[in-house]
Symmetry: C2
């Protein structure tokens, strides 16, 4: 008989640094798909390519892993749009279009399932809910508030209650993200695409905020 197992990555490799991230990623995907309670740690371990016992070396327990998932998945995606907002010189219309485009790209990443997960588990994990409120929700509101304020300051948008309008503007995008990871796979209307939704969203928002209704261009 010739040699054995050349392509297999050799079980029991020691990679102390890479393990936590790999387990967090595996846990994130399964928690998002099935929810916290319905996810077995054994499945997480299998997907991460480790044994059942290893998560307990790096995390206190299942809840600790969950908290790590939320904390680690939240931070990366936050600064992207904020930089854009600060540097963009053109009209706020176009800025918003650009931001929606970036959002649409981000929405395809696996971590985009987090909002659904957090919403589903908020009651069972109050400290995670608080963390998410501070780090994501409040930050997101301020982000949209700044965009609206920018439009008002430049005379492009009419004056509105900026903080409330920020919440309303964020809502359809949050809903789209949650939707993508829940009911979207069971969509019955072939025309109900994310692109169509975002087009209509921009249409409504830009018309709804526009300052000087002097002309009425089509679409």
């Amino acid at each position: 008989m010739p040699h054995e197992s050349p392509p297999q990555p050799a079980r029991r490799t020691r990679r102390k640094e890479a393990r936590p991230a790999e387990m967090i990623e595996a846990a994130r995907d399964l928690f998002i798909e099935r929810g916290f309670a319905a996810t077995k740690l054994e499945d997480v371990a299998r997907r991460a390519g480790v044994s059942v016992g290893l998560p307990y070396v790096y995390f206190e327990n299942k809840a600790g892993l969950f908290k790590a998932v939320v904390r680690e998945s939240v931070l990366p995606n936050i600064r992207l749009g904020e930089e854009l907002l600060d540097s963009y010189p053109g009209p706020t219309d176009d800025l918003l279009r650009l931001i929606v485009n970036r959002f649409w790209q981000m929405n395809r990443e696996p971590s985009a399932g987090l909002p659904k997960l957090v919403v589903a588990e908020a009651t069972n994990f109050p400290d995670i809910a608080r963390f998410y409120m501070e780090e994501v929700v409040m930050r997101g509101r301020r982000f949209f508030a700044r965009i609206i304020q920018r439009g008002i300051d430049r005379g492009e948008f009419r004056p509105v209650d900026v903080m409330q309008m920020a919440r309303v503007m964020a809502a359809p995008l949050s809903m789209l993200t949650i939707w993508t990871h829940s009911l979207a796979p069971h969509e019955l209307d072939p025309g109900a695409t994310a692109e169509g939704f975002l087009d209509a969203y921009l249409d409504l928002v830009l018309h709804g905020l526009r300052a000087a209704p002097k002309d009425t261009p089509d679409v």
Copy 2:
């Protein structure tokens, strides 16, 4: 010693007709609060005032109870707004304001937590997801589409992609409902009320759909 237990409802009463509804209600509240997997049937039974075994007399198992919860909780609240839409004679602006008011009232009922529950469990219960898509989502979209079409037909709203805009218009309301049963209890901004949200929502939508931008009133 005088008599015993006059106010107690006497354990082991036989009420074949009332039991299912009572267990469904108890299950609904707990499923919404904790999620399906994290809810113990023993807790459901206790809250419904029955023994652990009784749910299995009326439902096949825990999943069967879950499905009954969704099916029973969905139907009641649907026709309310549709009747209003058919009978209302005035401007579509006012009709929408009225509908949002009714929605706001419905949002306080316990069954308003269903969207969050369905979204959270959609992946684990595909047939429930399909049912909900048909009975609630599609119906809701058609409802909003009819409102928009009504406004366009009456010359009050500008022409838009009606089906897409219906989805966008429904999104903030769905989001508010989900929000109420997830992160709202951890709100950090005292000004972030549901009323303020709905005011801004109406403000945005009515300006965003308005047909003839001849004047620019405040508010």
